[in-house]
Subunit: 371 residues, 4 copies
């Protein structure tokens, strides 16, 4: 397996859904950053949207613990280990279906690859792992804040309901987003999405969705061409999130329909600064941030775990029907809960490139400038 | 910069568009693979589509040379260095515009990041670098062939013209693709695309497009969750190709509109094998190949280099108009030429995971089985 | 910081000496390996040599816990997290000396590099981190055992007392080693070493030592030239252990005095196998294991923490004398306790190359053989 | 294989001894560094010591070529590819012995690992590869000079003849070293070494040696604990050089004989700076440079290629005698020619950590300071 992400600001995550705990080790966070467990737990709480009915997590809030790397309230440069205990789970639910191949699920490919599968709650393949990303993301966001970089993610569509989102002010957009039970900053769309989710839920079904993001005040020069372009790493980050099936930056797939004269963003000066008068590129040119907002979208498939009966086979290749146990709770739309996860992944990518840029751009006139 | 891709089967590329040569070093290709320079050059020729008018490359075919790593017709395990001389270029064209910020181009971000820019023909940021990927891809494809894995990429849309593509037989699809001047296997769409390109070309403009791919007979078990999932690496690979703005696997963005009961692919047995009766997932479950065809799409923006005059500013922030020199030749639709590049990147990703799987799956009963 | 070691079988460690816990995440251990917490704790106990007076650890035995990656007694391919709680420490001892630069210690360079230093018990720089290596090493050794590879480390000298060690039988050598209170398999030398240590201890001083190792039945072909040679990685592993100042393989520094005709090991056949009639090379030729025992030595400096008063300066550059607190316990000879650490690092290096070889050697005739 | 070294300032080398060319790609060198091909070739010439009789290289000087990454005399941040053509070789010499296992050589392990061996002149395993390191080292040294860091390597012993070396002034030491035909700065020892080499040479034999190095004015704070300590990386670098069997830093193996009160270097102030009054540690504490000179020694085995007949077996396991062809020229003491190679590896390690430190130390008050 490959449970590590990032080059300088890097994380390693561990833990299964129904094991004792899950956790993350952040290696490469600069020393001297103020961070508290409260900040981490506050951010973790966002993985449990207010729309209590549409999502179905464990009952209690996650409580993270900082095990190492912070001394007298500041990071020391040492690895920051954060663990989150698992509680309120009942693995017995999974016993009756452990020999069934679950459509859209990890169990078939894990069994084939590893010859063994911790079926309890999805084991290592459970979306629970994303809590570790959010915990680490809280640290990355703290680092970005120090340099004035802001970011937000939000639900931009669920099923056929799409939001209209203006990305002018990040703080405002963030507030609207997290005020919505379905993390959608457009109030009207929010209502429609709630209805959609309630409908599929009542059918024992689930639904897909799209999460958008905006990152602002990113310094020019982040990204390492040719093979570690900013968009390349963002794409890799997004596709590492469970259920992601698509990613685009700027105009994305729509760019394929445009002509060069439409898509090219003209350079203009704005005071002493250079910027572009439009942002079809989504803030990245040739793999490097150009100072404009970085804008992207991430497509999530519908949750594969549905209570509707599904035809399948078992480990002995016999036809059967998969019926999830009555009590089992599953998120009807993973895109919602993924909002802070997308933010966290964005933050870690930007943090890493921020540090990499310090090491990889151009020679300075004297040593002290360089580091 | 980061000019390396892959973990075991890995490449490092070098060279600028108007430098002496470009090249690639393949490190980690297993020993004992038969490969000839003819096979590499034959594959390289595909980067110069037959549609002579729609694309505008250098006049002579690229001629690669194997510098190392092959002995008596077989790879030795040593790094395989391949170089391609640059010829027939005229850097003088770029002199008059070297101080202008070129919309949609690399020069602004490169100058900001590195403080220096080799402006001749796009320097390191030129799509010419992709020839190195195709050369290395020829080796990866040879390795995949050895294990019975086949793949193809093709133009699936340009502007508003879309192809209908059936992925039944890879060999047939490949033949149709490369028979089309615009690498589109759907004959009707091919004609419309040619018309579209001719039109934008006559306007001094360019147009975007989408490239699809199919990889077949991939063994179950490729991909390394959590952070090096098969789709994650494919995404990273695709976004490293110049001009890419979107990537999706399986149903992609459309999955966001579906319900779980529609999107989940039911498991069925087929003889002694397990497969799924549909393939919305595009051949990947939980980051690991499931044996079904791996299917994806890659969105390319329109070429930023257009002969139409464009408003911009120069390095001193003065407003000006960018007018590419009359003789300058630019590809009106980069998606076409990207077809073998997409194939090459797919092949290298699969080759790498094939080798990684040998190292990372499960314990074998005896040593000789394991290696 | 860089708290990760290994490519496929890789570890990330975390934790400070006086923090809540220390821990290690093993990523890349193949699935299907049987491992119990008892085996890990048993191996961990070896870091607390019986020679109670010569070493001065915490009072209670370390008790490790497996947090993830093991299901029904077997590894699952998921990251194996192991934590060890810190207990019985008193950080108050360090308060009075926290502003003094400690000769031979980490505090000066850590403060300069990170601007902050967790001075309690040495913080991240404490040798306590090596317990994590031993815990992970227990897993690696289990993997090697599965393939019939055996290894042992032992004290080969302390100060001017040297042991005579025959490496014929690993099991026997291991038994003798761990039977000695100072982990020295040569009984006579063992006694002299005990005397030496008692003497320096009574002076409030410490002493250096050398640890030797032998790895047997290593398959031919481990090691990845040019820059990841077997000896290169072993050297890197050994120098990552605190207090290591020298490493040699085979004849080591003595090889510099020999002629080629003396040093070259002649190839002979032994039954159907090829071996060499001598082993000056120490089991490695051109970066690759040759099937002969891998033999090396690791030099440890004397423990820098001594109770003897030492001249130094404080953080304000004032001259002062460092006097460690009376109650403080320090290991008079770190080489002894390093024995299982050297074993653990050897085991992890060999395990990693064993897995890498599966990915990087030569093409197999059919897919199933390759993985 | 693993033909890459370094994390930020990194190299990939390629090429065989009797192939068309060898080469190196430097990825991660900061933009804006002045470098000329003359500087590289001048440094490369040092791999051909003046002591014409003791070493036996090809007749003509190596002529490197810069293929990419330098524009108008300065590095651009793009990969710097440098190639060196192979000339004046005659592969026919190797034909008669291609089926013989050569004691101390690469051919047995390469054949076992890769199933194929390019026997011509040692193929990939030839020390000729080190020319690429020297070429890349010239660039690294240029970068270090920019920051005022100086270094030198020299022969400190051959067989039983040892030099006395004072490391006061690097420039002077360097001059004396390269003035000696055997790269030994101690004139008396130099003469004795020449005699020793002439003697072993007349016997058709070879001899080992030790190379020392000193790196001065290294900023405090280089090195990334725990697993990428400065000494750990230096050790890895040195053991990647062919024929190296031992490495030590500071007092090295002798430290194992010392007591803590002898080995600990007392901190003193020197003007406004902190330094140590002795340097047993060799400039590194806890994996991080402490500002004192970095001092180390590297042990080389005798050249395995000797003209004296040697008993061995062939590929069919038949006993035979290896007699190198009369005309074949081999270096009787590889340590001499390794002097600039050791320098080059030191320079690349320091350059890489210099860049890494910029990315990994502690948070700065504002963005512009950080990069």
């Amino acid at each position: 397996m490959a449970n590590k992400f990032g080059k300088i600001f890097s994380i390693t995550t561990f833990g299964e859904s129904h094991g004792e705990a899950i956790g993350v080790v952040i290696d490469g966070c600069p020393a001297g950053l103020s961070i508290t467990i409260e900040e981490i737990n506050q951010y973790l709480a966002l993985r449990r949207p207010g729309f209590g009915d549409s999502v179905s997590p464990r009952d209690e809030a996650d409580e993270a613990e900082i095990i190492s790397g912070v001394f007298e309230g500041k990071t020391t440069g040492a690895p920051i280990a954060i663990t989150i205990k698992n509680k309120n789970f009942d693995s017995n639910n999974y016993e009756p279906i452990k020999n069934l191949l679950r459509p859209g699920h990890a169990n078939f490919t894990y069994l084939q690859k590893y010859g063994i599968y911790d079926f309890r709650g999805g084991g290592r393949a459970s979306a629970r792992e994303t809590a570790c990303r959010v915990a680490a993301g809280a640290v990355a966001i703290k680092l970005l804040e120090h340099y004035g970089i802001k970011l937000v993610a939000f639900v931009s569509s669920v099923g056929n309901e799409s939001a209209k989102v203006k990305s002018e002010d990040i703080a405002e957009l963030r507030e609207k987003t997290y005020a919505s039970p379905v993390y959608c900053p457009d109030e009207k769309a929010s209502t429609k999405i709630i209805n959609t989710i309630n409908k599929v839920k009542s059918e024992g079904d689930s639904i897909g969705g799209i999460v958008g993001f905006v990152i602002k005040d990113v310094p020019i020069g982040l990204g390492e061409p040719i093979y570690d372009k900013l968009e390349s790493r963002l794409a890799s980050a997004m596709f590492s999130i469970p259920a992601v099936k698509g990613f685009e930056i700027g105009d994305g797939f729509n760019a394929a329909k445009l002509q060069g004269s439409e898509h090219n963003d003209p350079f203009v000066k704005s005071g002493e600064q250079v910027m572009t008068s439009s942002n079809h590129a989504g803030g990245i040119l040739a793999g490097i941030s150009n100072g404009m907002p970085i804008i992207g979208e991430v497509a999530f498939k519908p949750t594969p775990s549905i209570t509707k009966p599904q035809k399948t086979i078992d480990l002995s290749n016999n036809k059967t029907v998969l019926q999830l146990p009555l009590g089992s709770k599953h998120d009807p739309c993973v895109a919602i809960r993924a909002v802070p996860v997308v933010e966290a992944m964005c933050a870690m990518v930007i943090a890493d490139f921020l540090l990499l840029k310090a090491a990889s751009s151009h020679i300075k006139d004297n040593l002290s400038e360089n580091y």
